[in-house]
Structures are given as structure tokens and as C-alpha cells.
């Protein structure tokens, strides 16, 4: 088992690949831990896969994992994770904006007892308006909602202890939220400033359409972090809130009738009925959600699996 697995998702990075291999080689020559490099081809339509396959043939410790079709960064990372065997997993971009020379520092930080070290591109070399500003806002919002404050959720260069990240199920665009997911598995998370180079070769695959996706994913993550294992409690609490509102407005209505006021005759009953219906609706939703958790069968959630830290024998 190698100590470190470097996982690099690749999608149409033909122009970068030659220098990527050079950079990696230069890095591996001086690196003192056993390392494997997993390159995941995310269904590239250019000749990336062919170039990588040829390069890898002469390099022990390198692997290319080819996905049948393009499925996005999260899926590529998940595929790399399936294959990687290292005790520590380091994700990295293929576009040379990350610097492998940062990896030893990240690992040193892990050795201090952290489970996840996130890279922070403090001096980011991207366009300010379309890339840096939305990213800054997103990081703030994600930190605020999940309670996990990392400056740069979007930075791919992150080092994970394999026992934490491997049991997690990565899908959709969840890679952005890995630090938050890991935290809910009890991981100790920290961050450190890493180098960031401007993109000189190839082109970026990110656009502004990310904003809505991030918002939607954020709602999902928040839900998963807080109540994926006991939904009936949370839906139930919500529903009981509505029950209280129902009782309160019913009281108000009775008082209204007794005093003979006119304003309340139609509005308050409508509020009562609405609150009562919401109460039942959320209660039943909670039961349905519990049914789904039940159908998972015997077994713990991925997050709980990721949280088992040591088995001393």
C-alpha cells in the first residue's frame, strides 16, 4: 500500500498533459514517500486519453482510469478514489494551476493529526469578476450554512486521510462540499495557503451557471449533515411547530369571536387550517423519510462509516 495517492481528474487537457507529466516527475524525484498517481480520464473528447496511456506505460506507479463518458469532476474524483490505495489521498487539478511542490507541506499538516488539509489559493490567478468574486461569495455562504469555515472550498488541491474520504458517496457536484461532509463525519479539518499559477495552457471548464447548482447542492448538504439518519425528528419538530401555531391561532380566533370583532372571521380560520394542514403534511413527510432510511436496511450511513477512526486490538 503506497503512502500517498495523487488523484488527478482530467477532462480535455491535451495541451497541459506533457508539462503535467514533467512537473509530476520533477516532484516525484525529490519526494520521499511511496506514491501512486491515478489519472482519471473523464471521457475526454480530445487525445488526452491516448497521450496519458502512452506516457503511463513507461512509468511504474502511474495508472490511468478511463471513464466511458464524461460525467463531471465529482464522478471522476469518485472513480479515482475507488482505485486509489494510498493511506492519504491528494486531489489535484490537471491544468497545472496547482503546484505538486505543496504536497509535502499538506502531508506534514496531516501528520500533525488532521484528517483533511484544504488548499487555499490566497493569491488566486484567475479573472476577478467571473471566477474570483463568485467563488468568494460561494465560500462564505457554504461556510455560513455548513458551519465549516474553509476559505477555498473550490480548490481541488486537498489532502484527505483515506479512511475518512473513502466511505463517502460522492455524486452530483459534491466534491465542493467534501470538507463539510468530512466534518460531519467528525474529521479534523484545517487549511493552508498553496501556490496558484495562472492558466497558460488549455481552457477553463467553469462558467457562471455554477451558482444555481451550488445553492441547490448546499440545501442538500445541509439536510444530509443534519438529519439524514433520523428524519422523523426534524420533520416532526417542524410539524409540531405548526401544531403550536394552529393552537395559538385557534385561541386567537376564539377570543376574537367572544369579543365580536369582524376582522378575524375569515383570516384566522384560513391561518388555522393552513397551519393544521402543514402540521400533518410535515409529520407524514417525516414518516415517509423514515421509511426510506429503513429501506436502506441494516447498515450505517456513509458518514458514520467514515467516522470510525481506530480499531485498537
Amino acid at each position: 500500500m503506497p503512502q500517498v495517492s495523487i488523484v488527478i481528474p482530467v477532462f480535455n487537457e491535451e495541451p497541459c498533459l506533457v508539462s503535467l507529466f514533467e512537473t509530476l516527475n520533477r516532484f516525484l524525484e525529490t519526494f520521499d514517500r511511496s506514491t501512486e498517481v491515478v489519472l482519471v480520464d473523464d471521457g475526454s473528447t480530445d487525445s488526452s486519453l491516448r497521450i496519458m496511456t502512452e506516457e503511463v506505460r513507461t512509468r511504474p506507479g502511474f495508472q490511468v482510469v478511463a471513464l466511458r463518458a464524461n460525467r463531471g469532476q465529482t464522478s471522476a474524483m469518485a472513480a479515482g478514489l475507488d482505485v486509489a490505495n494510498g493511506e492519504v489521498i491528494v486531489f489535484m487539478d490537471a491544468d497545472l494551476q496547482n503546484d505538486p511542490q505543496d504536497i509535502p507541506r499538506l502531508l506534514k499538516k496531516l501528520d500533525e493529526g488532521y484528517d483533511l488539509v484544504s488548499g487555499w489559493r490566497k493569491n488566486r490567478q484567475d479573472r476577478a469578476f467571473t471566477r474570483r468574486l463568485p467563488s468568494k461569495v460561494a465560500n462564505r455562504v457554504i461556510g455560513w450554512v455548513t458551519g465549516v469555515h474553509v476559505h477555498d472550498y473550490g480548490c481541488t488541491l486537498k489532502a484527505y486521510r483515506a479512511s475518512v474520504v473513502k466511505p463517502l458517496n460522492l455524486y452530483s457536484d459534491m466534491h465542493r462540499f467534501l470538507p463539510a461532509l468530512c466534518t460531519s463525519a467528525g474529521a479534523r479539518v484545517t487549511e493552508m495557503v498553496v501556490n496558484h499559477h495562472p492558466r497558460t495552457l488549455g481552457q477553463s471548464k467553469y462558467g457562471l451557471d455554477r451558482i444555481f447548482k451550488v445553492v441547490a447542492d448546499l440545501i442538500v448538504i445541509k439536510m444530509i449533515m443534519t438529519f439524514s439518519d433520523r428524519p422523523v425528528h426534524y420533520f416532526g419538530m417542524l410539524s409540531l411547530g405548526f401544531l403550536l401555531l394552529t393552537v395559538f391561532s385557534a385561541g386567537l380566533w376564539t377570543w376574537n369571536l367572544a369579543e365580536g370583532w369582524q376582522e378575524g372571521t375569515i383570516i384566522l380560520p384560513a391561518v388555522i387550517v393552513l397551519c393544521f394542514c402543514s402540521f400533518l403534511y410535515f409529520l407524514f413527510m417525516g414518516l415517509l423519510a423514515d421509511l426510506i432510511v429503513r429501506v436502506r436496511g441494516r447498515g450505517r450511513s456513509d458518514i458514520a462509516r467514515a467516522a470510525v477512526t481506530e480499531v485498537a486490538t
Binding site: 475518512v164 422523523v232 416532526g236 387550517v273 403534511y281 421509511l291 436496511g297
Partner: protein, 329 residues
């Protein structure tokens, strides 16, 4: 799920509170005496559900001098369901005995409990009786147990005693999540296992002063509601949601018809009739609740392959005459 290689696994759970290492060490000593006397092969699994350094250190120092001890540690607290589930997965014993980190009942009861399992009981629950804790906590406990008995119709008198003994495969067949671990004896009864509850002298006041917040009661209440629903309707959600939804729908429909009658035949204006709002809302709610039931059915139909509600106790195979003759020879 591998074949058990030992006779017995003792699982010690520490969850949701700050354990006192001294009490824990003392209890482990008592267990050790008991387990050695029993004369069977055993192991001890200590689960540290993210309860802090003091406990883990104590467990480690016990493990250093007692080779049978294994420790599992969670990075943060996940609750007893997850802890128990993990421990049962790891257990190598044919029987599993669970305990809290402090002495609830005297470990001397172990040999009796094991004897019952030997005689064919699948699950032995323990009732702390007579109890030694305060009137208030006894009252709360009694209410909780009586309410559960009433809802589930299962005659178990003490759900909260953590001393339980069962065959490993029993819990492997049960599904519990959230706070349902409390009800595993009830779930085992429902699965058709032979469950017995025996009284044992209660030794110590329940943990170090458990503070019960009102939110906790609401959660317990919701747990039991969910337990009732899952026990009765897991395999047929539409029976439940459909009935409730149909009820709302018909009441709402009746109200709307009446309103129509009032408007068309009697000729009153409806603009200040709250009844109309109620009728319309009930119709909508009825439709939504019934659809929730339909979604439930789809989930069960597509995902519920492994949800068996029966348990094959034994299979008796008829033997051919000729086989018998052969074996006689």
C-alpha cells in the same frame, strides 16, 4: 457476515455522556472476573462514541493488560444505534452481550443469561427490578414503557436497560436507525424471535445525572410514532397514508358539497365562510397524503427486496428411504 469464531462477544457502549473513567475501569474488572469464570472463549469490544479523551485512555490502558479487549472509536458522537450496529458487525462471538460503561445491573447475571441463550432463547432483555433510582426518573421510565407497550402491544417492561444478550444473527436481521436501538427487543419480538425479559437487581443510579430536556420527550414521542408506523406499515405504506388521505379527502369533499348546496340552493354568499377554506384545504391535504403513500409504495417495490417480514425458524427435509439404508450400512 463471517461465521462466529468465539462463544461470546461483550460489547461495552459509551455514548452521549461524559463517562467517568474510574467507574468504567471498575466495571471492566467485574466483567473480567465474570467472563473468566464462565469458561468460554470471549472477546470484549469497547465502543467509544466520540465521548472524549479520558474514556479512551482508560480503555486503552485496560486493553494493554487484557488481550481480549478491542476498541472502536468514532470521531464524533453518532448515537447508540450506530455504535451498536458497528459493534455487532465486528463481533466474532456467537452470542453478543451489551452493557453500558457503568454498572447498571450486576455482571453476575451473565451466567444466567447465557444459560437462557443456550436453552434456545434468541434475545434476553433485562428488566431493572427492583430499581434504585429516584421517583421522578422511575415515573418517566414507567410512562415511556407503558406507552410503548400500549402502542406496540409487546410485553417488555424496561426498554432502557442496556444489558441485553442475544444471538449475533438476531441483531443482524433487525433494522434500527436513529434512536430505534432502544426498541430492539420490540423489533426482535416483531420479527418472531424468542424474546424473554428477566428481572435483575438494579445496582446504580442511572449514569451521572442525565438531564432530560423537554425536546427529548418530543423526540421519544416521535420515535414511538415512527416505530409504530414502521412495524405496521413498512411493507404497505399506502394502507396507512391512503386511509388517512382518503379520510381527509372525503371530509373535505363533503364540506365542499355542503358549501355548494348552501350557495346554489339556499343562495347565501360564501365570501365570509371559513368552512369553504377548510373544505378546500382538506381536499388538497388528502390528495397529498395519499400521494405520499404512493411514493412509499414505489420505494418499497423498487428497493424493498431485502425487507423480509418473516423469519425461517427451521427447515425439516424429508429423507429418502434409500439414503437411510445407505447410512445404516
Amino acid at each position: 457476515m463471517s461465521e462466529p469464531t468465539l462463544d461470546l462477544s461483550l460489547v461495552v457502549l459509551a455514548s452521549n455522556e461524559k463517562p467517568d473513567p474510574a467507574l468504567f475501569t471498575e466495571m471492566m474488572g467485574m466483567w473480567r472476573t465474570e467472563l473468566e469464570q464462565l469458561g468460554r472463549s470471549y472477546e470484549v469490544i469497547v465502543v467509544d462514541d466520540g465521548v472524549g479523551e479520558g474514556f479512551f485512555d482508560a480503555a486503552q490502558s485496560i486493553a494493554r493488560e487484557w488481550g481480549a479487549v478491542r476498541i472502536v472509536r468514532f470521531r464524533r458522537c453518532f448515537g447508540e444505534s450506530v455504535a451498536l450496529d458497528t459493534a455487532v458487525d465486528m463481533a466474532r462471538g456467537a452470542y453478543v452481550v451489551t452493557s453500558t460503561w457503568y454498572t447498571q445491573v450486576d455482571p453476575k447475571g451473565l451466567s444466567k443469561v447465557i444459560g437462557m441463550l443456550d436453552e434456545g432463547t434468541d434475545f434476553v432483555a433485562v428488566r431493572r427490578h427492583p430499581r434504585v433510582d429516584g421517583v421522578m426518573s422511575r415515573l418517566v421510565s414507567w410512562l415511556f414503557n407503558a406507552y410503548t407497550r400500549w402502542i406496540t402491544k409487546v410485553e417488555i417492561y424496561d426498554l432502557n436497560c442496556a444489558f441485553r444478550a442475544f444471538r449475533k444473527e438476531v441483531v443482524e436481521e433487525l433494522h434500527f436507525h436513529g434512536d430505534l436501538f432502544r426498541f430492539i427487543s420490540v423489533l426482535a419480538v416483531q420479527k418472531g424471535f424468542r424474546v424473554k425479559e428477566i428481572p435483575m437487581q438494579h445496582v446504580r443510579e442511572e449514569g451521572p445525572s442525565t438531564v432530560l430536556r423537554p425536546g427529548l420527550y418530543v423526540r421519544r414521542f416521535l420515535d414511538i410514532l415512527s416505530l409504530f408506523f414502521l412495524m405496521k406499515f413498512t411493507r404497505k405504506p399506502l394502507r396507512f397514508f391512503g386511509l388517512v388521505g382518503f379520510g381527509f379527502l372525503s371530509v373535505g369533499f363533503a364540506i365542499c358539497l355542503w358549501m355548494l348546496y348552501v350557495r346554489l340552493v339556499i343562495g347565501h354568499a360564501l365570501s365570509d365562510r371559513p368552512m369553504l377554506v377548510l373544505g378546500i384545504f382538506l381536499v388538497v391535504l388528502g390528495i397529498i397524503v395519499a400521494s405520499i403513500g404512493l411514493i412509499g409504495e414505489i420505494i418499497i417495490f423498487t428497493q424493498g427486496r431485502d425487507l423480509r417480514d418473516y423469519h425461517i425458524d427451521s427447515i425439516v427435509e424429508g429423507r429418502d428411504r434409500s439414503d437411510e439404508e445407505e447410512s445404516d450400512e
